[in-house]
């Protein structure tokens, strides 16, 4: 009896403690659950290098402001011997760095960005506006690069105009969208983009704005940077259209209609240059962007949870995600096996397959998986006839798995199917183990049985994909690692559960009569 009591005690403790600890954390810090979940935050560093300096030189660059969509926190700067000041205008906040010496100056400026995406829904019956306030009607005029008055633009605008604003914007959007994309960084004005039927982001944006203006819709370009883990020098230009008191974003190049993703950092409004500097100096620059995950400061500083793993140990987030969620995925599989009664190839394999799928594109994953297993099955049938010893047979299959992955990848590259060429990222080991287990089952059971087990393994792996991709779950376990105890408790309970598996009801259906 003693071990039974111990068993129940263990379960009770493991279930209750997480809730206590979690509740304690929430109460103590007086935050809600939503605040504790991770937010995607970017650290952006402007890295500048000025050389070959005359007695007085400067660099000007736009700096981000707080808006509805973005929250900015300045972290640090290294301005050396430069004088720094900022000026605000309708275009945005501009920083100016002036030299005091003629020595080469390497300087940087670092800030943190937390962005939100924004989506607008335009009413389909919404009609055109007129009578704009003076500040807005400025955005109806043609400029040097946004030639709204040019006959070609006017003609095209007339052709695209529809009965209401929504349809008109749609027409403009689709028209500019189907223009060929070029990747030049050079400035392209609206007319050139239209004439050549070819433009980069800045040409397309200017054309879109020009068309809108010619149709009597106030519009402007907006400049900024698309944030992602990288070092880059390219900025991005998108557009905004004024309607009913709101400036609504449109990014033709990336297909965002009345929508802007969270990682678009806005730096300036209107047709400006992100960075300007004194003519003739040696100037180089780079944007260093790093993505990280953060929770509220109070909790992060408490050190009572695992967030430090992210910043200190340099573990790539993808890997961490897989490790953190593995126990939960394994629990899901235990439930599918012991409660529902599906048979799979082991408990680890579906988890690993699911993890692999969540890292590559889903289509590529399915094609890779399906092709390899099919190939291996055929191979197995042949090898069986030749009566090979087990281990050499396995090595042959493993080699063939690698060959099929290479083949698929080559196919992907040649047919321009990006997703397929990424097949190589699918873990070879996982595929080989699955192939070997499948082959083993083909021997031990009937073909239909082996296929059923493979199917069940595959389906459960699919279910693991959203699990592994969930930022919510990752954040949850990072913030409340005590819930691993709850997983342990659940498995202790399941370990002594003698109920019938769901599929067994079907197998023994004859007993229900």
């Amino acid at each position: 009896m003693k071990s039974r009591k111990l068993y129940h005690l263990a379960i009770a403790l493991l279930l209750v403690v997480p809730f206590l600890l979690a509740g304690f954390k929430l109460i103590e810090k007086r935050t809600s659950l939503v605040d504790l979940l991770p937010k995607e935050v970017f650290t952006v560093t402007y890295e500048f290098d000025m050389s070959n300096l005359p007695p007085q030189a400067f660099v000007k660059a736009f700096l981000p402001e707080n808006t509805r969509r973005q929250t900015i926190r300045y972290i640090s700067d290294e301005f050396g011997e430069l004088n720094f000041k900022t000026t605000r205008s309708a275009a945005g906040t501009r920083g100016k760095w002036e030299t005091t010496t003629q020595n080469e100056e390497i300087f940087n400026c670092q800030f943190e960005v937390e962005g939100k995406s924004i989506k607008y829904h335009l009413r389909s019956e919404a009609s055109f506006e007129s009578n704009f306030p003076k500040s807005i009607s400025a955005y109806l005029k043609g400029t040097e690069n946004i030639q709204a008055d040019h006959p070609l633009i006017r003609a095209r605008a007339q052709a695209l105009k529809r009965g209401n604003i929504n349809q008109t914007l749609r027409a403009n959007f689709d028209f500019v969208g189907q223009i060929h994309t070029s990747h030049t960084g050079l400035l392209t004005n609206a007319v050139t983009a239209l004439k050549r039927n070819r433009a980069s982001c800045n040409g397309k944006s200017r054309l879109f704005v020009a068309l809108c203006r010619a149709q009597g819709i106030p519009a402007r370009v907006v400049g900024g940077i698309i944030l992602e883990n990288s070092r880059k020098r390219t900025s991005h230009l998108w557009t905004e259209v004024y309607f009913r008191g709101n400036w609504i974003p449109f990014d033709v190049l990336n297909g965002h209609f009345a929508f802007l993703p969270a990682n678009f950092l806005e730096l300036y409004k209107g047709d400006n240059f992100l960075i300007t500097h004194t003519k003739g100096i040696g100037f180089d620059y780079q944007f260093l962007i790093q993505k990280k995950y953060q929770t509220t400061e109070t909790l992060a500083s408490s050190g009572r949870q695992l967030w430090s793993l992210l910043s200190v140990s340099n573990v790539p987030f993808d890997l961490l995600r897989g490790i953190l969620l593995l126990p939960l995925a394994a629990l899901v599989i235990a439930i599918f096996r012991n409660i529902i009664g599906l048979k799979t190839f082991g408990i680890f394999l579906p988890v690993l397959i699911g993890l692999s799928f969540s890292r590559v594109s889903f289509t590529a994953g399915v094609i890779t998986f399906g092709t390899v297993i099919l190939f291996v099955s055929l191979l197995h049938l042949i090898l069986e006839k030749w009566g090979l010893l087990h281990i050499p047979k396995v090595v042959i299959m493993l080699t063939c798995v690698v060959l099929s992955l290479l083949g698929l990848s080559w196919l992907g590259v040649n047919s321009n199917w990006q997703a397929l060429s990424a097949s190589l990222f699918f873990p070879v080991v996982v595929l080989s183990i699955t192939a070997e287990r499948f082959a083993k089952t083909l021997v031990e059971e009937q073909f239909s049985e082996a296929l059923k087990i493979l199917g069940a393994t595959f389906i459960i792996a699919l279910l693991c994909i959203p699990l592994f991709q969930s930022d919510l779950l990752v954040g949850f376990f990072l913030t409340f690692p005590e819930f691993y105890a709850a997983i342990l408790a659940t498995m202790l309970l399941l370990g002594r559960w003698i109920g019938m598996r769901v599929l067994e009801y079907r197998r023994f259906a004859a007993f229900s009569k």
């Binding site: 009896m1 071990s3 039974r4 012991n338 009664g341 009566g387 090979l388 010893l389 087990h390 281990i391 396995v394 083993k440 021997v443 031990e444 059971e445 009937q446 049985e449 002594r496 559960w497 003698i498 109920g499 019938m500 598996r501 067994e504 009801y505 079907r506 197998r507 023994f508 259906a509 004859a510 007993f511 229900s512 009569k513």
Partner: protein, 296 residues
């Protein structure tokens, strides 16, 4: 779909796999003794020690170097069964007989000694045990009692008896069909025929989806047929159970036309389809028979 509505009824009678493992297989069978059931060589050793009727073991080969010597000793027999000790799926089993000229035949084809040696070498090298080393078991071939061939002319059918603490709880007869390619395994398309243990007669046959009173391939009668030597079969099953330190067992018995009931092998995780073959659940039968507590 409606079976789910009546699930209480199913639950009250049927032993599911979770319950089987948790209440019977693992508590009743000390893990250390599993190899006595899983390894045919160890099993035979114990059977011979306890003088329990089973096919005579002609030889056991552990190393490739011993094949030749062992073969010389056994090749005077007119029939042989060569099996992997740890094999599964029946893939490694080779039944050999001699023709008039003294050549070895298997499945109607001539087999040279070289090929037979190769087969045994492969067994040792683990071809049928998924890479891990194995032993070759050479034993007496079974001649099935004509009773079986009255139902179906081919293969070696066997009786499966489930015992708990040396008491026979339920049994069935596993019979091959055309579909099963000579194998009696239910998984591979064979028939499971329930047994009325009191009367010693066969009940209906189950093929995985339907029940039959006759064999589905040839219409030979099954239900109600009297099993020859049933008392001896039961006694042998109980004797075997007593001989092993395992308390929840499935015992496989064949009926040889000359030697009567013989133990083929024992199973420490006997399957649950026996309930379907008998149209009766194991749950209550086992519970009533069970004297010991669930907890250690």
């Amino acid at each position: 779909m409606f079976y789910f509505l009546n699930r209480k009824k199913i639950e009250s009678e049927v032993l599911g796999i979770n319950a089987r493992n948790l209440s019977y297989v693992y508590p009743k069978n000390p893990r250390a003794y599993f190899p006595l059931a899983d390894n045919k060589v160890l099993c035979k050793k114990r059977l011979h020690e306890k003088h329990i009727s089973c096919p005579e073991t002609y030889g056991v080969i552990e190393r490739i170097g011993d094949i030749s010597a062992c073969w010389d000793q056994v090749s005077n027999h007119s029939k042989l069964a060569i099996k992997p000790a740890n094999g599964s799926g029946g893939g490694g089993i080779l039944i050999l007989g001699k023709d008039e000229a003294g050549n070895w035949i298997s499945g109607g084809k001539k087999r040279s000694e070289e090929r037979i040696f190769t087969h045994m070498a492969r067994i040792i090298m683990g071809m049928y045990s998924f890479g891990s080393k194995d032993q070759v078991l050479i034993e007496q071939c079974i001649e099935p009692h004509p009773f079986f061939h009255e139902i179906f002319p081919a293969g070696v059918p066997d009786f499966r008896v489930i015992l708990l603490h040396n008491q026979a709880i339920m049994s069935m007869l596993r019979m091959p069909t055309e579909k099963s390619d000579g194998k009696a395994n239910l998984h591979q398309g064979g028939l499971g025929i329930g047994i009325d243990m009191e009367r010693g007669t066969l009940k209906q046959a189950y093929d995985g989806s339907q029940y039959f009173d006759v064999h589905p391939d040839n219409g030979h009668p099954i239900a109600g047929k009297v099993i020859p030597m049933w008392e001896e079969i039961l006694t042998l099953a109980i004797e075997t159970s007593c001989a092993f330190p395992l308390n929840y067992l499935g015992v496989d018995i064949v009926l040889d036309e000359t030697y009567g009931p013989m133990i083929l092998e024992i199973n420490v995780r006997p399957g649950l389809a026996i309930q379907l073959a008998n149209r009766k659940g194991l749950k209550n039968l086992l519970h009533n028979s069970n004297q010991k507590n669930l907890w250690p």
